[in-house]
Symmetry: C2
Subunit: 454 residues, 2 copies
């Protein structure tokens, strides 16, 4: 068998780096999505950019497709290998290469996770703001153009990466961008690779823009009986130029789930979680503006988390909503959807979706990075119930169509991956031809990230 | 002659849109750089995306190279046509297509200038923050990845464009990005086209992210005898997280020029111009932090511009520095250079450059968007003195090499254009191969922006 020949050759060429044991194959067959797992041909553990270059050169020569595995936290199947792919695991590439505190930047290997990065940065008085919830790898966050809870203030990966080291389909090492805060020198290959989901090059090192740790942080929540005034508060907050750090929606159903799971006793209403960063004075002024707008719109009194442990508990509850949702139905899976619309259409889009959920009787908390117009359904589906899963599929299709109808996008932060390929053309029309032209030009053998995006 | 045949055909096919008069050819032969002018074959005045699509289809069929002209304010020769090119003038495409005040975005035609845009946005309480000084067209600002004085707070074009309509080399109309604040759907073609200097597609419409007009604005300046403490103040300001809107350097020589030209009596020292945006309280707090840091570093007292006309006069003086420099030597040209380095290296890079200026006895104010590590020399060169011009050429070469040695870029905001093509490889190494692959894939006949970047 050809496959066995390739395997033998791989083992012979890279005896210390290749793993073909069942456990390793199984571990690298899936991500955090509900997409079908697929075991790779083998797993290659890379320790350096040079390693990745070497294996890519080898794979290119032997026409072996390549997938990349960091923390395995992707949610649209991006790290699931195509059949016959070699999985390049970069999780051992988890070092900080350099921190330039005065320049507020750092260079890291792609496999470093964001929590570990922030642990290490704290001693410099710095942090990396992009927070997708999961403890993703920095390389994976680049590949999927991740964002999360505080993109409203600090931007997404697109805004926080200064440069990349990457390995091309043929194994060449390239460096994009640099350490200058801005540059007009040539094509913005950094942005092209960010969000390319492993299909154009393998990201091995990342130069990140950092932020100074805020002098203080305040966390609060406010509740509404209806969604419209809640979204109006978000719009007003943004229009008044309040530099809010996080503004997150958890709907009534989400609060119910979180209450049960995290043993909280938050009243079960649509809830905005808010976080403010800055000096004491700046925070006081910002919160007064938002609190007064919230009162005018009929929100409840702000509830403040003043102690650090209360703040952590509140955000932990928010971050745990996935597990909380899963606990609503025993033996269930959670399908996390992801759309993003212009913010003035957010209330309408969520309300339409809410109605759709009621009509279909699907159980699903709604959570949203509402400052960006981005929200997710966490559809809780009993395992082994194909009928309900089909219902969920069709609801998701309607949700994406609705987001596009409102001038939005099929995915705000999860990516196209395996699950939204059929929406790419609907969203981008003839621009998809350009994307394909670029893909074919940079990876003519279609070896990289096969099965993602296209 | 072939050229005459093409011209006749063009005139026959587009009788109302083609101009071949000397005056029009001459007007479209140059930009604001010192690069040699080149007249186009003819000028095509486009009124719509469809017009551009039609002419591009025509040019593609007849293999006629195309250049684009907006406001003609580029400073590295980007709008200078390659020999035999048809110049597509988009300056008549100057309409605002839509303003979505609640979403804080708008859609405009590429030929609209930024001052006209901001005039129109004011009634919505909104503004577009990117300010390169010149009254550039929005399409040109996209094409060159422009930034300017307040990028330190609001980012560059890369951060403020949500989507584009563009016409490909073969005449197809594509739409990139969208109106959602963020998206992870497919390749970031918007960022690829931004900064591509007309070489990948012709930008015809732009969707922009807008900002609410700040409640208040405060403008001040502070002076230093030496550059190091001035730059240290910039670094401290950024590290303390002060959301400063503008922080601009004008060196001693620059102040001298501005004093003479704008009839100011500012003491002739290295000067930081500062602008703060926000509520009165926020501004007061921010200025106290920066003022106290400035005092600690031996700066002069802050001088405040409290009246709007004083603010305008101060910024006008800063914006007029190009003309002020030119006035230092009668019958001169000004060569504006542009490099950007990581901020901790900015003082050293400027000091080395200062010494180089003294050694070569070239007259040149230094201005800088120092919050980004970006600075310019405004080398004042007597016309018709090739010896001094050669000196300036070599000084610029040393400046770029120095910026790269300090981990910076050959151009922070002016682009590669015609003047820095030989630096692209030094800065980006093998990544240039990828750029060329993309160029060849999207424009195999090399019709678009010929002579820019490569």
């Amino acid at each position: 068998m050809i496959q066995n020949n390739i395997l033998d050759l791989l083992l012979e060429t890279f005896p210390d780096k290749i793993d073909t044991q069942c456990y390793a194959l199984e571990q690298h067959s899936k991500d955090e999505s509900a997409h079908l797992p697929q075991t790779p041909l083998a797993v290659f553990y890379a320790s350096s950019t040079q390693d990745v270059s070497q294996i890519a050169t080898y794979c290119h020569h032997h026409k072996i497709p390549m997938s990349v595995f960091g923390a395995g936290t992707s949610v649209e199947g991006q790290s699931i290998p195509a059949k016959g792919s070699l999985c390049i695991d970069v999780s051992h590439m988890n070092n900080i290469i350099a921190v330039h505190a005065d320049d507020q930047d750092c260079q890291v290997q792609a496999g470093l996770t964001r929590l570990e990065l922030n642990n290490q940065l704290a001693k410099h008085g710095l942090f990396f703001p992009v927070d997708p919830g999961a403890n993703a790898s920095i390389g994976g966050m680049c590949a999927t153009r991740a964002s999360g809870t505080n993109a409203v203030k600090y931007g997404t990966m697109k805004h926080n990466v200064l440069g990349l080291t990457a390995v091309t389909a043929a194994g060449s090492i390239i460096h994009t961008g640099g350490r200058a805060r801005k540059s007009a020198a040539g094509y913005d290959l950094t942005s092209l690779l960010i969000g390319s989901e492993g299909t154009l090059a393998i990201i091995t090192e990342v130069t990140l823009k950092l932020q100074g740790l805020p002098e203080n942080t305040a966390v609060a929540f406010v509740q509404f009986d209806a969604l419209e005034p809640l979204i109006q508060l978000v719009i007003s907050t943004l229009q008044m130029g309040v530099p809010i750090a996080r503004i997150e929606l958890l709907d009534e159903q989400g609060i119910r789930a979180v209450n049960q799971y995290s043993r909280l006793q938050v009243p079960e209403k649509h809830t905005l979680f808010l976080e403010f960063h800055g000096t004491d004075n700046a925070i006081m002024e910002q919160t007064q503006i938002v609190e007064s707008a919230a009162n005018d719109l009929g929100g409840t009194q702000f509830e403040w988390a003043t102690h650090q442990e209360d703040k952590n508990r509140l955000w932990q509850a928010r971050h745990n909503v996935l597990y909380a949702a899963k606990a609503l139905i025993p033996n269930s899976v959670v399908w996390t959807t992801d759309v993003c619309v212009p913010i003035a259409s957010l209330a309408a889009c969520i309300l339409d979706t809410h109605k759709d959920l009621q009509d279909t009787k699907l159980l699903s908390p709604i959570v949203g990075h509402v400052g960006d117009g981005n929200f997710h359904l966490l559809m809780v589906l009993p395992k082994d119930d194909p009928k309900i899963q089909e219902k969920a599929y069709h609801l998701n299709e309607r949700l994406v169509q609705r987001a596009l109808d409102y001038g939005g996008t099929s995915t705000g932060e999860h990516g196209i991956g395996k699950g939204k390929k059929h929406w790419l053309k609907a969203e981008h029309g003839d621009a998809v031809t350009l994307m394909k032209t670029i893909k074919s030009a940079l990876d003519p053998l279609n070896l990289l990230g096969r099965g993602n995006i296209f």
